[in-house]
């Protein structure tokens, strides 16, 4: 049983023209499809049809798509989610363009998840036959891929248990009220494989999006991204800096509708048998922003 990755983030935008300018010209995503009030994108090193969907009208998250390794995983996840007490519905091929049959449910945190096994393979921009290191005509930041997201939930501990039970995720790092066994979980960073996190959950209101992140290679690329944000008048929330948690290098910034995005580089390799790192609230500032060592106003309050 394996969830391979967050396959797509589907978000609302208030103004499609401005959003397209941001995701295509600043971030460098490739438009693969558009219909009605939706536009579909992939990044250059992704092969499936899309990883970002923009929907005009409102702000915030519509849903996340998760791609599983085997079609039998869909049945297994349906069974596990149902056992957890969540209502699961079947979704059929084509409900999302170029995405196969799957399942859909609303998590205990009121976020909509879709799980699927098949997506139309477009291929990466460098192909598979003697591929070059990167496409030479990247636009803007030229992000290679969608990486992870952070959502908020009234009960992050419940989401930790849910993602463990249903997706077979494991936590790589947590923020807890203390090191005692009765501690409450304030935030959790979870993954299915070696990626340091695929989804993090922070205490806050249900159904909200904190950010979704694109992958970059290293500090230099993160710094260059921040330079481009200044050139394009993209509001930067914080960074370039490092997260103590995950050790990733980061810039938090906002899309033209106010959805928070991130570019994220690094982060150490995660393993199921690696002892989990635990942060306590006294060091949370350093855990989130390793250099400023204190949270900014926006970290816990600015959500869409």
């Amino acid at each position: 049983m394996a969830v391979m990755r967050m396959g797509y983030a589907h978000v609302r935008v208030t103004d499609m023209a401005e959003a397209k300018d941001h995701y295509a010209n600043t971030m460098g995503l490739y438009e693969t499809h558009s219909e009605g009030n939706k536009t579909y994108y992939k990044a250059w090193d992704e092969w499936d049809h899309h990883s970002v969907v923009l929907e005009e009208g409102g702000v915030g998250l519509v849903k996340f798509g998760w791609k599983v390794e085997y079609s039998s995983d869909l049945d297994e996840i349906e069974k596990r989610a149902t056992a957890f007490g969540v209502t699961v519905e079947r979704m059929s091929k084509g409900e999302n363009p170029e995405i196969g049959d799957g399942i859909r449910f609303t998590t205990p945190s009121d976020h909509v998840f879709e799980v699927y096994h098949e997506a139309t393979c477009i291929g990466t921009e460098v192909g598979t036959h003697n591929p070059d290191a990167f496409p030479r005509h990247l636009v803007g930041v030229g992000v290679p891929a969608l990486d992870h997201a952070l959502i908020t939930a009234e009960d992050p501990g419940l989401m930790d248990r849910f993602l463990t039970a249903v997706f077979d995720f494991y936590p790589t790092e947590r923020v807890q009220t203390s090191l005692d066994s009765d501690a409450d979980i304030i935030a959790t960073w979870m993954t299915s494989g070696n990626q340091i996190h695929q989804l993090a959950v922070l205490a806050g209101p249900n159904s909200k999006l904190h950010h979704f992140a694109f992958r970059l290679g290293d500090w230099v690329e993160v710094g260059r991204a921040a330079d481009l944000f200044s050139m394009d008048d993209v509001p930067i929330d914080i960074g370039p800096t490092r997260h103590g948690i995950t050790r990733g290098q980061t810039v938090y910034f906002f899309d033209p509708s106010g959805n928070r995005n991130e570019v994220f580089a690094g982060g150490y390799l995660a393993f199921r048998d690696r002892p989990m790192s635990v942060w306590t609230p006294d060091a949370l500032g350093k855990g989130v922003f390793y250099h400023a060592r204190e949270l900014n106003d926006a970290f816990t309050s600015v959500l869409t």
Binding site: V59, G60, F254, P256, S257, G258, V302
Partner: protein
């Protein structure tokens, strides 16, 4: 051009054409609690005590509910005053973070005063 008066401290900010409240305050050197600056997070709400404004982008229902569209709530990063307005911040005062920029606002004030004092006659130019 419209002005923004901050109640109760009395600062007056002179706006550029089509400028938002947030942009005007920052351009005059002031800061207050803001988040996305793009109309999405609802953190920058202030109360409009008098005057008129409109929004330069559609605002999501999750950001402004129906009541807030008529009760004087002003999402300052998207609100463009159409008349002089008076606003009150929620639970804080503006902070002057860049005193050099205040000189620019001061110049705008002097120009506006000179314009108002000019004898009536052929339309004065900018």
């Amino acid at each position: 051009m419209p002005t923004v008066r901050i109640h109760p401290t009395g600062e007056v900010i002179h706006l550029e054409p089509a400028e938002t409240v947030l942009s005007g305050l920052y351009r005059a050197g002031y800061s207050y609690t803001v988040g996305c600056r793009r109309g999405g997070c609802a953190i920058c709400k202030v109360d409009c005590r008098s005057g008129e404004f409109s929004y330069d982008h559609p605002i999501a229902d999750t950001v402004l509910d129906e009541d807030e569209r008529t009760d004087g709530t002003c999402l300052s990063c998207r609100a463009v005053p159409t008349t002089d307005i008076t606003i009150e911040l929620r639970g804080e005062d503006v902070r002057l973070v860049n005193p050099f920029l205040r000189q620019i606002n001061e110049k705008a004030r002097l120009r506006a005063e000179a314009l108002a004092a000019a004898p009536a006659g052929p339309t004065t130019q900018e």
